[in-house]
Symmetry: C2
Subunit: 391 residues, 2 copies
């Protein structure tokens, strides 16, 4: 049996998404801008997809949504745009993020700091969330941007975005949230949240890797990241439009919103079943309180067992899980979840995560529970033996 539980990294493409893209990958689709008739089908499908994307986050017609090649591009576009229009011009002088943002944000923040921009990183509390009040230590009217993720992709913790936005509004500081791990997991409404900018991405909602979007609230404006001809299709981004992936993304957000109730009830039930079974194992600690976490995610620490060992053994029986502690690609002082939570640092390399999707079945979860119990017991025994031998 193969069980894929790494859905906060990459999801399986939904067959309905593939079906929506197929005509644009096999027929001549045509440039959206050209005058000849080859373009008209592409234009129609593209417009329908954009309507779905606007609807999925409750954007208004006067807001802008830029289709990008990933959430990372959306984040880079915003931060680089703020750098060029606000920081370099001397209008504003700092940005505020959290200690736990995605690599795209951690890395561009690092570059900005190297270029002389002040970067403040808010901590998380022992429940794994950013507390709005911590913003007050750093925010000033000269802050160029506050960017706090809606949901932590590793731990599943949900941040109090509305409270944070309230403070930003008081200081007239633009606010951005990376909602890549929130879309389809919790309700997402840009009007209710009051955000200025919001990032979503395809690979976590059963669209292909290679498409994302940046929401830009009416009244805000940033320079492009990718230059080129601009049109009313892509006011903010040059180069040919990836119509196929845009249409796939439109279908994917529609499906994600439709499946929200299922995620919050049925998928959650499976996650909870897994969580309860693992909680019974000696040395296993789930890391974020149940009520503060998206319904698909479970991050545990297994005392005395190295993450890589556990992932390896799980992979041997066909189970794909994740661990960010062994991620080898520099996250510029991104705090490991164990350190950020203020837990014993000996647990730093013991975290393993499971991210379900709407495709996950009860059989898969039962299989996972059975195997993980056996593997942990085996690894503990093995570890006990080697400890004895080495004495």
């Amino acid at each position: 049996m193969k069980v894929y539980l790494d859905n906060n990294t990459l999801t399986k493409i939904d067959p309905l998404v593939m079906e929506a893209m197929q005509p644009l990958l096999t027929e001549q689709s045509g440039d959206l801008h050209s005058l000849h008739s080859f373009s008209s089908t592409a234009r129609k499908l593209y417009k329908e997809a954009m309507d779905k994307i606007y609807a999925s986050i409750a954007a208004s017609d006067n807001d802008d949504i830029v289709i990008t090649s990933s959430g990372a591009e959306s984040n880079s576009m915003l931060f680089m745009g703020v750098y060029i229009s606000q920081i370099l011009t001397g209008r504003r002088n700092s940005i505020i993020i959290s200690q736990r943002e995605s690599p795209s944000i951690m890395q561009i923040a690092k570059m900005l700091q190297e270029q002389g921009c002040k970067v403040h990183k808010l901590p998380i509390n022992s429940d794994g969330v950013v507390e709005a009040k911590t913003l007050l230590d750093y925010i000033t009217p000269r802050t160029a941007l506050v960017s706090i993720q809606s949901v932590d992709g590793e731990s599943g913790a949900i941040n109090p975005i509305e409270e944070i936005v309230e403070i930003c509004k008081r200081y007239e500081v633009p606010f951005h949230t990376n909602a890549t791990y929130a879309l389809g997991k919790v309700p997402l409404n840009v009007q209710d949240l009051g955000v200025d900018y919001l990032t979503i991405s395809g690979e976590t909602i059963h669209a292909p890797a290679g498409v994302g979007a940046l929401y830009i609230k009416e009244g805000n404006s940033i320079p492009p990241l990718i230059y080129g001809s601009r049109s009313h299709y892509e006011q903010y981004r040059g180069g040919p439009v990836n119509v196929a992936y845009s249409v796939g993304f439109g279908k994917a957000v529609e499906l994600a919103v439709d499946a929200l109730e299922f995620e919050m009830e049925d998928a959650k039930e499976l996650r909870d079943e897994l969580e309860e079974a693992l909680r019974e194992i000696d040395g296993v600690t789930p890391l974020i309180p149940w009520s503060l976490r998206v319904p698909n995610t479970l991050l545990i620490s297994v005392e005395g067992i190295h993450s890589e060992q556990l992932l390896y053994e799980l992979n041997r029986v066909g189970i794909g899980a994740y661990s960010h502690t062994i991620y080898p690609f520099g996250d510029w002082e991104k705090k490991s979840i164990i350190e950020a939570l203020g837990m014993d640092s000996s647990l730093k390399h013991t975290t393993v995560g499971f991210a379900l999707s709407r495709n996950t079945t009860k059989e898969e979860i039962d299989y996972t529970i059975k195997n993980i119990k056996e593997i942990i017991s085996y690894l503990k025994e093995f570890s006990a033996c080697t400890t004895k031998e080495s004495k």
Copy 2:
């Protein structure tokens, strides 16, 4: 009959490209970085694709090729990287482009000039090509970058890249060429050309719109445009890898190189047939000498007939051609081809182009010839009538 002759804007996706991408769009492909086994097929296919891309331009193993979402991204990445690492740091102070670069380059050059960087634009001669010696008027050891396109996408004119590179080497100035309209039309060998950076793109070689690449010669280095986790798969670019399009792009460059002889002989024969037939029509002038042009492109001026009128009538009989003179998206002082060639400015709005592909058939060209003759004759008659009436 439908005849598509706008292949310098967008080509039909080759069925073999679609076939190569299909498994990655329907099966769970897996993140290239993850430890679990879901990733291994994707990794293998990605590696094979990269090998094909390296081979297609004769890149060496020590060079870098970054897969991007378009040629426009490749160009923006390079120019923004040069801006951040060379201009902002005060190391160098100017860039040199031509008057006829793609919108992505014209637009980012405009931004750089607004930020205080000197931008020089080389003219083309009456044959439509940039003469290497014009570089000598502007190049200095403090020039940060020279970027001249290999082929003009509107006119098909081929620039003398090797001669230009020779001058850049003398001044130790990095050289970039946008080879989007050259790949698959003329031999392209980065070793022979001696370029430091080179852009190619998918949409002009029967891959989907939404993939491109930036070649970076060994010894050169630029900061990323899209930040994020970096790995040996994407050293220069964050965000999830679009494995499906990368694999499609690999197949597309392989096919483009395989078809090079066909393009240069058989496709050229059809283009020449069209050219000879149109040349016979009174008032029609092909714009670039035959020997200085890629084999698939023909740009004409039709005296007394507005481009938009001719395109409209062609579209009515199912023929898709192009005209950049009616492109409504600001090309920042990009000279119109008529002005740049030093021709009578009354001809400015009379250009129409035809870009064939390896799929173009003799029947399609015969149909085009027949129709274009009728349409031009009809439009001239109509124009003569209205002129008389208005007297």
